[in-house]
Amino acid sequence: MSDGSGGASLARRLARPGVIGGALALAIGLWVMTEASGYPLGTARRMGPGYFPVLLGGLMAVLGTALALASLGGREAPRGDDERADPRALVAVLAGLAAFALLLPRAGLVPAVAGLVVIAAQGSGQMRPLGAVVLAVVLAALAWAIFRMGLGLPLPAFRL
């Protein structure tokens, strides 16, 4: 892979995980410093609530810069086990969690579990719609039996 060589084009070098990750760490570190410097800093002898976070933000910014520069200039070898992003799974799983969070207080346990399962099951790309519905019904019934009946958690099956 030419990505591993020093002669890679600038755009490709900027897309390296180390450069992106380092830049993100730099940005987050700077943000933490700005936010925490709004809290009372105190002195080294009597540290205020802002002292430690400002220190951490600074450290994070320095480490992020170092990582970004090291992987920009160096030859970050492409690793064989690098994962390919799976946007379908990401969107489906997170949307399923969101459905659960939205439905649980409004509609109750059974609709929340069913919503989570039907949406999240799309992430594998190997589920037929009917299969997802059957799985949702089974898991909703199980969740109700285990958590509501078995453990007695305050989770009504349906909320109207």
Partner: protein, 498 residues
Amino acid sequence: MDLVGNLALGFQTALSPAALLFCFLGVTLGTLIGVLPGIGAMAAIAMLLPVTYHVPPTEALIMLAGIYYGAQYGGSTASILLRLPGTPQAAVVTLDGYPMAQQGRAGVALFVTTIASFAGSVLGVLLLAGFAPLLARAAMAFQAPEYFALMVLGLMAAALLTQGSPLRGLIMVVAGLTLGTVGTDLQTGSFRFVFGRPELVDGIGLVAMAMGLFGVSEVIANAARGGAPAARRPRWREMIPSRADWRASAPAMLRGSGIGAGFGALPGTGSSIASFVSYAVEKRIARDPSRFGKGAIEGISAPEAANNAAAQTAFIPTLTLGVPGDAVLALMLGALIIHGIIPGPGLIEQQPTLFWGLVASFVLGNLMLLILNLPLIGLWISILRIPYRLLYPAILVFICIGVFSIRNSVFDIWLVLVFGGLGYGMRLLRFEPAPLLLGFILGPLLEQYLRRAMTVSRGDPMIFLERPISAAFLGLAAALLCWSLVSGLRRTRATPEA
């Protein structure tokens, strides 16, 4: 009390029906998740943390610990049969275990890894029972500077002794420390990074964060994985190793146990580094290193012994110093704190039933694992064939309800969502979440010790170097940092120039 009396107390605790049940549940579940690729011990323990709110602390800890060391046993099964490591520690076992299976020696490999796991665990438990009380007594003299230095050393080890790059590990630790500052500042009572959300006043929920970072991100990364192909169940007669196998693997198990026990006892280093190091050692001292990777039996017995020994000795720093051996133990430390038990040098004296009951449960749990793993191997092989597409929605349901049940908070489910997305992003950018979690759990303590030490010294940071023990810890941490930066540089230089 003497060791015999203590152990008697421990067995009395661990042999109670409730403790036995939780121990059995823990090791069975541990084996299950160890066998199944795509769910690690970390995610499983995070998922079960809510359950432990309803169980007394000793039983809760016995179960969580059972999951942890049970997963070390189960991890090798899929590595050998299918070249799919069930846990990160078992990745090394694929190197020689899978070739053995291809040569028709899968049965022997499974038998030897189980025996190696048992041998390593036994040595680890012996060290735990023998050394933990001594270490705790020595640590009684520790004050704020020593604790601060020890935690810095533990965090350095967690950040630097991983497979990934040292800079990434350090960034993760600092990120975790920063997340740990969210909420109310303990000394002044003022809010930090709360942004008007009442849910954040007590800080970010440990369980929600761990489930997002480990559980949800693992689910996303594995969602597209199909079911594992069918593997043949080895017959009993095929499992018995030959005399040559025994001769080769017995000393390897001993060496592996020793290496594992050492790495496990270090704060911050987990069992996966132990298994990698012991594999490297076996390969270096072998008369014919070329056999490795082609089914050398030392190549599976040493790392298996190592990761199990490490899993047991990792409890030494966790229970005696309050500094977790690795990220999973950090989570268990969190569970103890939830129950109002503060781990530290006083724990063994103040909670003898907890400590010795746990030690005794390790002995019983390892015996159970021996039975679970050898005769029941067929069961685990058939479980491997459950397609992941059916499994992961169930995992998500369990995560959601579990998180919600802790404090009936929908906000915590949103936290799981956020950390799940973050954790997946970190995976793609090659950041490991374990050091972050360690930083998050140790962060509030680290800050308190830092502030206390600096108040005592009137703002003079030299206090950390004037006290011999804290200076030694910090010196070790600095040496570790230099060593890993230098070896990191050398690795970069070794790659060919363009």
